[in-house]
Symmetry: D4
Subunit: 250 residues, 8 copies
């Protein structure tokens, strides 16, 4: 429930298109509502501009169905992250209006509620290697559903430095750049050295040996010698998208 929707609701009341009872009924759900052990925070959109998004990793398909059906009735886009293919199949069989994106591992719905004209510019998403794609897709899909234009530069790691240097003009025009990299995580340092846009680094768990789990990439980004860079958790494409959304929102 975003601010525009709230203003519209109150206007309709002023105009007599809604009566007090109807308005109260809608407002009653404002602070959120509880489903057994889940408390949905519908108020979040008003406070922070970011809608309630479902973290699917530990939820059963039963729980997902219950929550998603409820959310589809609300005036907001619907997103669930970290949903395995198996759980997604069960959900999609039971809810018609939900789509699954297997690379991003996300469920989406209410596409017609994607906001328009809310962005200051374009967010660029770049990856170091082709294995970083799932994280990039999670970020891209999230930003798209939050109403932002996105441009991508994939597989441009520093082993072949010309691949990213060829795209400097794109990087310099962005309002925010998300750089996704596993292994040594060096790409964000190079990108932050050639653009004035804020850079959001996303370490990925892509790697082996001492690189397994993404700690090497995380440390590489936290210790970057290039200023203008901040970092989110390993594999957290969704978190990077939310940071970019907060930066790029009008």
């Amino acid at each position: 429930m975003n601010e525009a929707y709230l203003k519209n609701l109150l206007t309709q009341l002023q105009l007599g298109k809604l009566d007090i009872a109807q308005t109260v009924d809608t407002l009653r759900r404002l602070p959120g509502e509880s489903f057994s052990e889940v408390q949905l925070d519908h108020h979040r959109m008003l406070r922070t501009g970011i809608p309630e998004v479902i973290f699917g990793e530990y939820k059963t398909s039963e729980q997902l169905v219950t929550i998603l059906e409820r959310m589809l009735t609300l005036p907001t886009v619907v997103l669930a992250t970290r949903v395995s293919e198996e759980k997604a199949t069960q959900v999609c069989e039971r809810i018609a209006d939900i789509n699954y994106h297997p690379v991003a591992r996300m469920l989406t719905g209410n596409r017609h509620h994607i906001p328009t004209d809310c962005s200051r510019g374009t967010v660029v998403i770049t990856t170091a290697g082709s294995s970083d794609l799932p994280v990039a897709e999670e970020a891209k899909l999230t930003l798209e559903y939050f109403g932002h234009p996105v441009e991508t530069i994939f597989d441009a790691g520093v082993a072949g430095i010309h691949r990213i240097l060829n795209r400097v003009p794109t990087l310099q025009k962005a309002t925010a750049v998300i750089v996704i990299a596993g292994m040594e995580g060096a790409l964000p340092s190079v990108v932050a050295g050639v653009t004035g846009a804020p850079v959001i680094g996303v370490p990925t768990s892509v790697g082996y040996g001492t690189g397994a789990g993404g700690y090497s990439a995380l440390l590489g980004m936290l210790n970057s010698c290039s200023p203008g860079l901040a970092v989110v958790n390993i594999d957290n494409g969704f978190g990077a998208a939310c940071m970019a959304d907060a930066i790029n929102r009008k």
Copy 2:
């Protein structure tokens, strides 16, 4: 050497106020210059909007004097971070136009080159405890020299949650919020839950036992359940300021 300066230089050439030789002389230094083992990157301002700032931790006072004297002749603010009181005293005895800020541990100069009218809004800096002050001052001074208005909320940790909740309107009006916390590092999560501004978390090394060194605070911020938050290295007030600068720059 920022873009405005460069355009001005070329305009002066057009207007005949500078001749070719003078202009070339200035442009010659554009990509940077080397002093024995140091390569100054004057080009950085043009590429990234962030001027070359001196990382003082491992430099001798000799090296600092050489570099700072050179930089004071340039059309840019001059900043050096992580300078101990002892080294700062030696530098200030030898260079008149340099000031030392003991809490922030910074040297500054060329205050008249602080840019004006370059910000989209106000950056809010908040700390969890009074021991986080040095990091906050480093961020504040950096942002001030980069031309941004700053508002502060100090000593507002979650043990007395009313201290930060009383300031929600300030947090919601900011263009960016820097949240600085040691120990469990929980404050950024609470802040990101009540504002739509992008939040930059700075873990500090304030703590003892398992909290010593700042890893607890860092992990707390990376694993925040509140979206719209990204993190910089432990004690990196300067890095947080640069990220805020990139976000808040017009």
Copy 3:
């Protein structure tokens, strides 16, 4: 074998309802008994007030059956923790009087031995997210079988701080509060800041990237800036319940 039971036994002897031989037979088992490689510590209840509870994680269903059948003959509640669904099914097929609780992953029996009137007040259990539910259920079920009244506040993490602040009166009336959280583990700090009851933090392994395994939540709780908080091992709902039991016991 708790103290009340022992006193009753001796009284029956005084009253002539039991003879010496019968009494000795019961007392003989007091220090515990051995089954092949297992030594049951029946004496624990007398020493510590906490009955012997079976740690099921590494035991085979064979071993569980042998031990549980023996324990069901004793005058005490019977509990086994960390029992997988697969092992539980095998056990329940062979022992009629045992129930399985799949969310809590516990086996229980001898419900009629739950002590009564042994508590100083109510224990409140609160969780940060819906994924922390299994740990909460383990704590709740344990406390119930130890004879304590329990009240719950679920899914009240700091990203929507109003969810926990709405429940401050409940938190302030508790004799002990168990706070269960994964990811950044910030909720116990907030709770300990608004109640005078002792707070027992339980980090959970809920999280990903640097949060996987629960170390981030553990460190967050150990380094809390709120006094009045102590911590148990990651995912240790049972241990938290035992601490609350020791606090809340009359």
Copy 4:
């Protein structure tokens, strides 16, 4: 400002011993007050029963003097922890009513405000080795100023197990037991195995090699096979005392 004090204040107003202006003047400070970068949380006592205690580690003697002088005017005991001998000397030279305890590294004042008749029983503090003494003294002094009777068992580590087993009756009569140990941190497990009182483990940084810093002792306590035990941060004698205070408070 505790609850008794507040009730007394309002009674005095009812009785006409204070006028409205005087009462308001006192109440005005209730939520706390700010000194430059410090926000004192006077409201904490009312909310949590634990008074605001000064964390001295990162404060200058200047800051300590300012805060302590202010706090000495309040109706509460005054405590500052982790104050080095050097800073303490400077403070004590300037404030007459403050005492320094060098082993505990604490400053104390307002001893006449120690509450009376607020405890359910006795807190036992035990240490594994003589090197754990500073942490034990910090806990002991804190509990004494919070109004609790304390009994001690020092240097009773598991290498000579008879030293602790000789004291089982003392351990069983306690309302709470604080067990302080460095190195392998095994003593809390043994204690929790012989008493029904809640046990608060405090790992210390006493040790060398892999034991340096206290992680070995911390892990030993978190992984105890004895239920009825919770843990605070390494060397956190103050935190253990606060937990014991919350447990033992009437």
Copy 5:
């Protein structure tokens, strides 16, 4: 090929029961022999008193069959450790004279080559919990095949300290004591405090949360306050047995 065997071989040559060619043929294999990528070190027994034992974890059942068949022809006991049930079944189907011990996860053969009269006394093996049994069985079986008498004390962890204290006489009569414990690993400290025999600590990976993997137990043992204790790798029952063998060998 142990020293007794070698002396016997040479005696037979002296006595004319073997000719030079036969003796050379046997001696030729002395330094070991290679099978594709494996070099068997038959010389080890002579140098160190410990026969070549097969580390089965990473070997295929094919490789195990090849090596074991070759070793069964040698005058020595045959042992393979860390062999999964699946691989063991395949091996036992193809080699008649090999037995599998599922708890110890070992394959054994040539039992008639167990040396006799080679020990100075009895090795005691004790475990903290019933889940430590597999490691204890690996140690016990190894010692038995190396010719040592073994006595066991199982499930005697410090949560019920009477279980180990009841067995002090047994511990004091041993030539060496192997103490196996997971979780906090406190039992070896208690044992080393009540016996003069050298104590070999074996941490196990039994535990969860911060105890998972066995690091907590390992650190507990390395930092023991009881002298007379040394430690082997986590879950290394075989290594503990070899150390006990070296200590107990005549």
Copy 6:
């Protein structure tokens, strides 16, 4: 596309065997080419002498087929590392000219493009145990396809030090030695102490307990007391081969 190939192409143009359009068509692909989310870096061979090798771990068999088919048309050997048996089977069913090497877990093709006469000498590969074989095979196959002669010494760990000392002459004649070891990783130190050839250490994840994952072996090699040794990532046989290739290339 290596330098020789490029020179040949231009010579053919000079000789009129190719026209401008044909030459341009080939050169157009020089900087690499993109397939959906993959950017192949054909230019690498010219810059670094090492051809583009496919990292197969995170790629689907679909992706592998697409890339490999494209690469087989180029004038270079074709290699893919870390390909599971399952994926390899699917690839080999669809591409005739690709071979799978199950121990090395590699796919290879274009064997006729193996360069000749490009080496300064022989590379020796030695392993500490038979379980290190897969890493050794990855290194060996890579070097063979890069055109280098290889000699091997397998299963020569320090527990039987004569096994490696017998081979000192081989080690001293090498141009480079790759030493592969898990567990304590001591073999590279011994080798670097007896040869003047540069030694490349490869820690493997072979081990258990504290040795699991290969960190013990990695640290052992990084802290070697023998100079003339450098280290690659855990299990990185391919990386060791590339370093040896760079050293041994004429």
Copy 7:
């Protein structure tokens, strides 16, 4: 107070050389005695054969003087470990019969109480580098005061493998071998591969980078591929000597 002393005491009573009162007076101190916060465990010698040794690291010179003066009156050798030069000087000025050993950092006394004829053989102490000397001297001095003959092999690290291989006969004749090494800690593996004596590894904190603190050496020893080796804490020369004493005692 060792067993021989106790028997002698009782014999004197039988013979009438002591009366009951005198005997009781001596026996009264048997379980130990307390000095303020220290509990001396005189009973240890009887239980474990190892006398009470003072751990000097955290004790003040005041405390050391009090304890040492008391211990010098007892029928036992007197040892204190980890005593800094500064504290030792203060102690030696006040107690005549105490000697300081600066390399070993130990205080010793009551040399005439060194037991005789209590060993099964010779303990060999070997070091990898000259920087390991302090740990070796601590072990050597301890063993000497416990009555064992010691032989040393210093500076024999694996970088020059002939240095240790030249001494194999010495290693094979030992009853126990203590091997002390920092950096990669490979020497114990080599030693355990050439002797049948039990090997006690002592990792030292000698090293830099990833070797600083001794973890690399510790892991190297725990993961040794040579059986017959157990490990004590980093820099724990005293602990290694106690283990050797327990092994070598008659």
Copy 8:
């Protein structure tokens, strides 16, 4: 004592310029010699081509003087690494022919023994920041004394990527490249992506927060996506020089 020296010695014997006794006297020292607790390994040069170099960190100035005076009489260059300014001053006061290099922290002597004509090409040393200079100087001085030509590129970190890309021709002509970097350690990846020379990465402890100690840089280099790179210990400029020496030696 290198091979050339040995051959010359024997030639002089053949020519009658030396008699048997003189030759034997020289050869007697060949395997090394012992000074109290130090065993010098003169044989190393013959085995590995690298002379015995003194590791000065833990040695006293006394020990350094003894060893250096002995080594100056030998036909080899003399080097000691990691010598503090204080110890160096004491050494230089007592030995005339020794020089101290304060940035490299090295002592050198016997410059006239620097070998000539022993290199295949030039070694390039590059650093990411000016704070990496001490490690670079250690590497440079070592290589110079081992007889190799060196070229340097300093302060060329990836934040200003043009600084290294401008020097690609220099990097491509090298026989070996040493790349020294702290913080995120990304420079070696970029360098290995633009040259065919073997790259030796040296992580430095330059950094703060998570970068302190050099682990971030180490992990960055171990996980590089650029093949042709191997790594030495943190701050190990000497080790990198030895690897380069082994590569570049004729």
